[in-house]
């Protein structure tokens, strides 16, 4: 199919509709407001539900209700709004409900800036709300990948009955790139049955209950252990990553989202100086591809690992876990809305290599 030029935020919304999402709840916030704006126009055209909520707290709880009622549902926001959703995400994880949550990140903390950043890595991968829970987190690096991952996100959310998050910096939401709609739109009749949903017993079955309260400590422990086993299964089966020129590299950049592109640009600059640098890019940041990164870093050729992030160094913790001390790990990045330049990234690489 021919490629079309799409703005990131609008492509996110369109991809969700094509993935069979028929229910969207959200609250405006820059730099992702084009998602609800697009939904407000196009959801009604496919018979779906678009509702602007009074807050992000309300939106995520609307998601809880709609998902419990069996809908393929999504919400989106940007950093400060995603903070407000954390309570709801914790409840959704405990109640084991599928949902897709998009975070088009801006700079924080607090009101921060509306410019692109990646300061919500910890929040997304460590669980920003209370209790032992995880969410699958995709970190696409371009608009095509956002679109390609959308259907997978909804499918994994249904498969594991849990939220799938997609996080990207504000640049991906605001920019335009060519998009190819590779997969055919999902047919609603092909969506999996949800026998657990509260759709009315119709006198045919015992009532379904969607709930996160397990007041008896034994029941609560069992519930937590069951969730844990699910998360372990996901860790074993759902890791995704991409490598570019990491084989026999002297230096490995690790970056998620847009900085991976900056790292590629930096690698080109280094190539001109005869330094071979590769880029390891986790596509799922939970589950994190620890073993694959270890293998790349442990190669004899590799002298140093440099993480590139648009924050003050968050993913570097996971990189250290992965590398297990076998190679020195250092960080380069900018926070709060500034984007590191390929030149800065290349300079950090030279420093790491002692040149």
């Amino acid at each position: 199919m021919a490629k079309e030029l799409w703005k990131g935020n609008e492509a996110i919304a369109e991809a969700a509709i094509r993935a069979g999402c028929r229910c969207y709840f959200g609250y405006p916030i820059t730099p992702q407001s084009e998602i609800p704006e697009y939904m407000s126009l196009h959801m009604p055209k496919v018979g779906g539900i678009f509702l602007q909520s009074e807050s992000e707290v309300a939106a995520i709880n609307m998601v809880y209700g709609a998902s419990g009622a069996g809908a393929r549902v999504m919400t989106s926001s940007s950093s400060p709004g995603v903070s407000l959703k954390q309570e709801g995400i914790s409840y959704i994880c405990s109640a084991e409900l599928p949902a897709v949550i998009v975070n088009v990140m801006r700079g924080g903390p607090g009101l921060g800036t509306i410019q692109p950043a990646q300061g919500d890595y910890f929040q997304a991968t460590r669980g920003g709300g209370h209790g032992d829970y995880r969410v699958i987190v995709f970190a696409p690096a371009n608009i095509q990948e956002v679109v390609d991952l959308m259907q997978d996100s909804f499918e994994l959310a249904d498969k594991y009955r849990m939220p799938v998050m997609m996080i990207m910096d504000g640049m991906i939401g605001q920019m335009m790139e060519p998009v190819e709609w590779k997969k055919p739109a999902v047919k609603l009749e092909d969506l999996p049955a949800k026998p657990w949903a509260t759709t009315g017993t119709k006198g045919m079955r015992a009532p379904n209950v969607i709930n996160s309260l397990f007041i008896d400590p034994n029941a609560s422990n069992d519930h937590n252990m069951r969730l844990h086993a699910k998360y372990q299964h996901i860790i074993a089966n759902e890791q995704r990553y991409e490598t570019a020129e990491t084989e026999d590299a002297e230096l490995i950049f690790v970056a998620f989202g847009t900085p991976a592109r900056l790292a590629r640009a930096a690698a080109r600059l280094l190539e001109e100086e005869g330094i071979k640098a590769g880029v390891f890019r986790p596509i799922t940041i939970w589950p994190y591809p620890y073993d694959a990164l270890y293998e790349a870093a442990a190669q004899d050729s590799v002298k140093a690992v440099v993480t590139v992030e648009m924050n003050t160094g968050q993913m570097i913790d996971d990189v250290r876990i992965a590398v297990r001390g076998c190679k020195p790990v250092s960080f380069v990045g900018q926070a709060g809305g500034r984007v590191p330049t390929p030149q800065e990234v290349a300079a950090a690489a030279r420093l790491a290599l002692g040149r």
């Binding site: 820059t30 602007q52 807050s55």
Partner: protein, 250 residues
């Protein structure tokens, strides 16, 4: 040379960032003049919202705090409880006050928190680019209501002044506008009265100002003033909705 007019001492020298024809600026001026005239600039603490007036902390020449979106009444509560002798005010838009922050404003009023709220009702989200507000009129277009707000889907707009006037802790609630010199004078009087009642410890006070957003309404500044009168006026009537001093006088 005789000075016939000068900028209020209640405002700093920072240039406003508001769009041409936006009435945020007029309301800032009225609040600033009130603070100056009541001689409370040096013990006033203001709370700026998240909305187009997010930079209000740069404009008012007194101590200011910036709050999270919608939480200004809670922040002001914290300030006033620690500094009961100070004059405290919040300055909030309709998304801030009537959507995400509805709980905070209702409960501040219920507790009779002794601060003053200036509520800018422009029937739209200005800052984020023209999305629907709880005060958006039925039929009015917004970027998240591209065909106009539908009553079936979103209900009718919320009238905050009328609603808060039912709460015992509210001491003074008035809706004003700033579309003409006469209205501006009335608005100033209302704002001053609210601050005075706060100083007298009467309870929660709020002045709602019907305001313009020519940018997101897609109107010229002059048309926008007309729109306030023609479209907003009938749904959001001007007037005093609660005045415990009048009730006390009875």
């Amino acid at each position: 040379m005789a000075i016939v007019y000068q900028k209020s001492k209640g405002l700093t020298d920072v240039e406003f960032h508001y769009c041409p024809g936006c009435t945020h600026g007029i309301v800032h001026k009225l609040v600033a003049e009130t603070l100056e005239e009541l001689n409370i600039l040096d013990n006033a603490v203001g709370v700026a919202p998240v909305g187009c007036s997010v930079f209000a902390y740069n404009y008012f020449n007194c101590d200011m705090q910036g709050a999270a979106h919608g939480r200004a009444p809670a922040v002001a509560t914290g300030i006033k409880r620690v500094l009961p002798e100070h004059v405290v005010f919040t300055y909030q838009g309709d998304g801030d006050l009537a959507a995400i922050g509805t709980a905070e404003i209702v409960h501040a009023a219920m507790r009779g928190e002794k601060f003053t709220t200036i509520f800018i009702n422009n029937a739209i989200y200005g800052m984020t680019g023209g999305q629907m507000a709880p005060t958006t009129l039925v039929g009015q277009r917004a970027t998240t209501a591209p065909l106009g707000r539908e009553r079936e889907h979103y209900g009718s707009p919320i009238r905050m002044s009328e609603m808060l006037a039912t709460i015992d802790g509210a001491a003074y609630i008035e809706r004003v506008t700033v579309t003409t010199p006469a209205n501006i004078i009335k608005a100033k009087r209302a704002i001053k009265k609210a601050f005075q009642l706060q100083i007298e410890g009467k309870g929660f006070t709020m002045i709602e100002v019907l305001s313009t957003c020519p940018t997101n309404w897609g109107l010229t500044p002059v048309e926008a003033l007309e729109w306030v009168k023609e479209k907003m006026g009938p749904f959001f009537p001007l007037g005093v909705f609660r005045d415990i001093t009048a009730e006390e006088a009875k």
